[in-house]
Symmetry: C2
Subunit: 237 residues, 2 copies
């Protein structure tokens, strides 16, 4: 199905983890889309009109109707493209769904502030150490959650890529980039071996590989556009 | 169905808007539950064991299995008790669901910080003015959202109480309390007439009336336990 046929456009910027989520969900479902790239530091008329409340990316336009907030969009994609053999993103069991939603929220509470501090050229060394510590503690809990939820299988979603896989892997590009930028070890095979193996596996998945560029590209982006304690335009949710 | 038969327990404190949500969802579904009341400023062993990540209320225990985060719990309740004539909480249409989820997240981003500032005995008058302004702006947007989503019917959910109704009404007790405490007008019939009528209607609904005490009780609670810029134990999500 072409993007014209699917009627799907995504307004975004490639380095935004929240945009990456939307792209992964669409790729998993096999839905073609048109990517409408924003310019860093500017907000297009289309963006302002489509998300007047937050004025942030990503926005998914479906036959012209706008949807904002990345996790809301991922659930929308899952619900709209649910038949015809498309893989389910949310688990079928309500309790497992609740755990995926819980951890996805946890990730968005904990990871972005730590990444922002570790990227920031204006953050003190002490603040960076603290952010690295908080990130490591969060990854440790996510390692434990992975053991419980994957039940020995490949993904948080078991045999298939699930909601929580998407929520977490979308941050992996920046996690690897700040490891280089701040000289810290976060996805550390000695501490979170299962999560490291999961990230390697998932980043090679056809629905994910194209959506997440190499860590060096994120570093380049940070150097080019600056990185301060405040989020860039793409610091949306 | 008795609470023993339903296997449902809720760990909470009555003034928490996040706890109120869970109670409303259960009442709407006609699910009996046991309310396990926490003591202010202390965290029970049961709470610490049930929500070791955030150590916050509410927690719903279903046959002993814990679920945390109020909006995650409301969705869980909707998904588990979906048959036997129980009313649906999430709208059936994916786009409308996305709008309910979007606005629920908006509410939790905007209202609690403003309420906290307006309750706080240690906040400056200027900060309170700013918080009241932010709250009024948010309520104005929610008035407009109500017009779109209710389509001339009673609730955000149309003819029945929906996800967004629950997300917003849970804060109404505190909104009315801070109107008294800070001497400001927020749910103002001149500015947000439809929202005021909606709040009156919904607060009289049998599933809501018992869950939200009178504003004076919230004021008493604030006076008794103090109210600072930081949240109380019930400042969970």
């Amino acid at each position: 199905m072409s993007s014209e046929a699917s009627g799907v456009r995504v307004i975004g910027l490639w380095p935004s983890p929240y945009v990456i989520r939307v792209l992964i969900a669409l790729k998993l479902k096999g839905v073609e889309y048109e990517f409408v790239e924003e310019v860093v530091g500017r907000k297009s008329e289309l963006l302002l009109k489509s998300n007047p409340v937050h004025k942030k990316i990503p926005v998914l336009l479906h036959h012209g109707k706008p949807i904002s907030e990345s996790l809301v969009i991922v659930q929308y994609v899952d619900e709209v493209w649910s038949s015809g053999g498309a893989p389910a993103i949310l688990p079928a069991d309500p309790y497992t769904r609740a755990l995926h939603r819980f951890w996805a929220q946890y990730i968005d509470d904990k990871l972005p502030p730590a990444i922002r501090t570790l990227r920031a050229t204006d953050a003190a060394a002490g603040d960076k150490d603290q952010a690295a510590g908080q990130m490591s503690a969060a990854l440790q809990l996510l390692e434990e959650a992975f053991v419980k939820l994957s039940q020995g299988k490949q993904y948080f979603g078991g045999d298939s890529v699930g909601y929580l896989d998407i929520a977490l892997v979308s941050h992996v590009g920046w996690v690897k980039a700040v490891e280089k930028m701040a000289g810290v070890s976060l996805l550390d095979r000695a501490k979170v071996p299962k999560l490291v193996a999961w990230a390697d596996r998932l980043c090679a998945h056809p629905a994910v590989a194209d959506a997440i560029p190499d860590a060096d590209k994120f570093v380049e982006f940070s150097v080019k556009y600056g990185s301060f304690s405040k989020p860039i335009n793409s610091g949306a949710k």
